[in-house]
């Protein structure tokens, strides 16, 4: 039950895009059509689910001082957390890119081009930083949180891409065309998502 509530909450209530604006750059750049949005969304879910539990373990056993720390209870390495998290993410995306390119060329052609973009996607690093702040009890919770946030991001980008496809037929004032109206659309979608905010699970 705990897991389910965390899962639903991280998709809808703590949505990476609408509540925290994370991963906005690629969100806006790659949401022109549903097909590419789909690919990037999948890649984000995948990388989040793989790196977040990894960073959770790093955080618990190496960075935070306390009885779990492998260097002894008094070694506080938490100042290294940013650099370690981003290194894990960058190394992981690089690794995945190479593996996918070699063994799954079909998947690579649909997903691979987005992988380098993901290393600097704030949603991934943000997920790890929120994990650190939220202080999960075990790896399972962090994995569920990763899956939920990834799905939330996926949902948001596919929805926006669908809206933008339709929007290209409408008559928008010239200065607002393109990115301007996209911002306003995302804002309105965010207001719609706020309906989920009061839900207690």
């Amino acid at each position: 039950m705990e897991y389910l509530s965390l899962f639903v909450k991280s998709i809808f209530v703590d949505n990476m895009i609408f509540a925290y604006f994370l991963g906005m750059c690629s969100y806006l750049a790659v949401s022109k059509n549903v097909k590419t949005a789909n690919g990037l969304g999948m890649a984000v879910i995948f990388v989040l689910v793989c790196t977040l539990p990894l960073n959770y373990l790093l955080n618990k056993y190496i960075l935070t001082p306390g009885e779990n720390c492998i260097f002894g209870p008094n070694v506080d390495l938490s100042f290294l957390s940013f650099i370690l998290f981003i290194a894990v993410i960058a190394a992981f995306t690089q690794l995945v890119e190479m593996i996918v390119e070699k063994f799954l060329p079909a998947l690579y052609s649909s997903l691979g081009i987005f992988l380098p973009l993901i290393a600097v996607n704030c949603a991934i690093l943000g997920g790890s930083l929120f994990m650190q702040q939220k202080d999960f009890a075990n790896v399972g919770e962090s994995a569920v949180y990763a899956l939920g946030s990834g799905l939330g991001w996926y949902l948001a980008i596919v929805a926006l891409a669908a809206i933008r496809e339709k929007l290209s037929y409408s008559n928008v004032p010239a200065p607002l065309k393109g990115i301007g109206i996209t911002f306003i659309t995302v804002g309105l979608m965010g207001i719609a998502f706020m309906a989920f905010m009061g839900i207690s699970l």
């Binding site: 703590d14 100042f79 290294l80 650099i83 702040q133 939220k134 202080d135 905010m197 009061g198 207690s200």
Partner: protein, 272 residues
């Protein structure tokens, strides 16, 4: 030089990692004392604000005021018995991360070490800690010797500024606590009521408009912690049994040091 050879890449990466780690370790170590002092002064400042003791802005002034005004500080277990002294000379306190650990202990209900700060004017300050909408919320409540709430301060890690953040930023929210009291005969000693507290109710205040989840979280935090402190706040641990037979949960579990009062209070409990 060939910057693309394998050896070069590996050596280069190694050097970068070592240099960066050295710079960061140096910065972290040289700034650590200041950071810890900042955190501590902030917490002490909140304790003093809750107790309505005016203190200065700077860290040194805050700590000096605390040392000057504190009568005793100690930790208690869930039965209200004293566990440890928190020496006033070096202004030892429980930091927010210590409170987090105790919050788990309270939830487990087995053992906990909860800090109590008693000031020279008799005011006792106790912390509360819990989950808000986005992250943890915590704070301090000061109780006068006659059981009234003297004041309260709250803080949060990541509530929405302007909505849930008002528990910290809007002085009129915390001011509502002044003069209220906890009612330990109630299932919930205190209530933060959405849509306005009923007039004349001594243990309820208004929730923040638009911040339902934060208000609820704070309500739960206050009740959990105040219940854990019941033996201390409803009366000192030794005379909670001597009182009007109103046992606060400590006696039944054999927490009382003196005499046979536990028997009496068990009877009172069964009668009720």
């Amino acid at each position: 030089m060939n910057t693309n050879s394998n050896t070069y890449t590996v050596v280069y990466s190694a050097i970068i990692v070592i240099v960066v780690a050295a710079i960061l370790a140096f910065a972290a170590m040289s700034l650590n004392d200041r950071q810890v002092a900042n955190m501590k002064a902030e917490t002490i400042g909140q304790i003093l604000t809750a107790a309505k003791i005016p203190s200065g802005e700077s860290n040194a002034e805050i700590i000096a005021t605390y040392k000057d005004q504190i009568a005793e500080a100690y930790t208690v277990d869930l039965k209200g018995a004293k566990v440890n002294e928190l020496p006033a000379e070096d202004a030892t306190i429980y930091t927010t991360s210590d409170l987090k650990a105790q919050n788990y202990n309270i939830a487990d209900g087995v053992s906990a070490e909860l800090p109590v700060y008693v000031f020279k004017n008799g005011t006792k300050v106790v912390p509360i800690y819990g989950a808000g909408l986005w992250g943890p919320v915590w704070g301090y409540v000061a109780i006068t010797p006659d059981g009234k709430i003297a004041g309260a301060t709250f803080d949060h890690a990541s509530e929405t500024p302007g909505l849930g953040g008002k528990i910290k930023d809007d002085p009129s929210f915390a001011a509502q606590f002044d003069g209220k009291a906890f009612d330990f005969s109630d299932a919930a000693p205190f209530a933060i009521v959405k849509g306005g507290a009923p007039a004349g109710k001594a243990n309820a205040i208004d929730a923040i408009t638009g911040a339902t989840m934060t208000s609820k979280g704070l309500d739960v935090a206050i009740n959990n912690w105040v219940k854990a402190y019941a033996p201390v706040l409803a009366g000192a641990s030794s005379d909670c049994c001597k009182g009007e037979g109103k046992c606060c949960g400590c006696c039944a579990e054999g927490g009382c040091q003196e005499g046979n009062c536990c028997m009496d209070s068990e009877e009172t409990n069964t009668e009720e």
